[in-house]
Symmetry: C2
Subunit: 185 residues, 2 copies
């Protein structure tokens, strides 16, 4: 029942945004009584934060599995970047973005979202370093990994209002060429 | 009066977000009667799109002036990137982000926001190419300029919920070193 509520919440965040997501709509879509819902999640904020956390963790696990399937060799960096680019352009990113933007002007939501964002950010950074085989003890490498993640976040934002897939791949392939040269130094 | 309405709208978007911005609050803050406001801007969407357009144009002009003041020589690329990073981390970016995210789930708003975003995107791209002295006829250069703008957009998003200034400058300085090498090829 908890999982059904969380899935319904993410669906509604993606379809209707934060403002258009109400606890009533969530209980209707999940087919869960209001009483049961309130027992699990007393407020809308509890529900949306738990939903994005749940989906982020599931997608994080999927990302970790996807890394295992990536090719080695000269195409690896490009494959890692495309994987990250697709990850940050998924509907789950749109749901997280809704939460993030709502938190900007809602202190209670911000207090719940900030630790989640920090944790997810650290995990994604670690996964990216490992997938790229980057050595962060080399000067500048940590910053380029961070730049890569900020880049895919920016590309994810562009994707929310337009289909940006072709442009995104061209940019990430060019970035991969640069990254290969820099990481090999 | 028109300018007062637009300034008040942007202030409210920054302070309260898209959902928290109402035409009533705007007319109160601007000190403009409801009738006069409705004459200029019949709907909330008219008002918010005009407000973000107005501010984006003003900030675009400020950016173009700031480019004129930048140093030449070896520090130029870093100065250009810091200028762009600060631009995309300003309150005006937060107001534009509110509009962008609301447009994701509002087709009428999206129809108004998309052409604005495309125009602003083209102008910012042109300004960045000129400021960096980049030659886009060289292979890969256009993609690296686009990547730079997607990077500062991602950094702008990070800035909305945390003070990210120090991290942003480190990342942009590292990127400036790479960009200098790539553009000199």
């Amino acid at each position: 029942m908890r999982a059904r509520l969380l899935e319904a919440t993410v669906e509604l965040l993606v379809e209707r945004g934060f403002a258009g997501t109400s606890t009533t709509l969530v209980s209707e879509r999940a087919g869960v009584s209001r009483g049961a819902q309130l027992h699990h999640f007393p407020t809308k904020n509890d529900l949306v934060v738990a939903a994005v956390e749940h989906l982020t963790e599931r997608r994080g696990a999927e990302l970790a599995e996807a890394v295992e399937q990536l090719p080695g060799g000269s195409k690896r960096t490009s494959a890692v970047l495309r994987m990250l680019g697709d990850h940050f352009s998924s509907p789950v990113f749109a749901a997280a973005l809704e939460l993030w933007v709502a938190a900007r002007t809602d202190d209670a939501l911000l207090a719940a979202v900030s630790p989640l964002e920090q944790r997810v950010g650290r995990e994604t950074h670690r996964l990216t370093v490992a997938a790229l085989g980057a050595d962060e003890s080399e000067p500048g490498v940590r910053e380029l990994v961070q730049a890569t993640l900020d880049l895919v976040r920016g590309l994810g934002l562009a994707q929310t209002i337009t289909d940006d897939t072709v442009r995104r791949r061209r940019i990430l392939d060019a970035w991969a060429d640069v990254l290969d040269k820099e990481l090999a130094r």
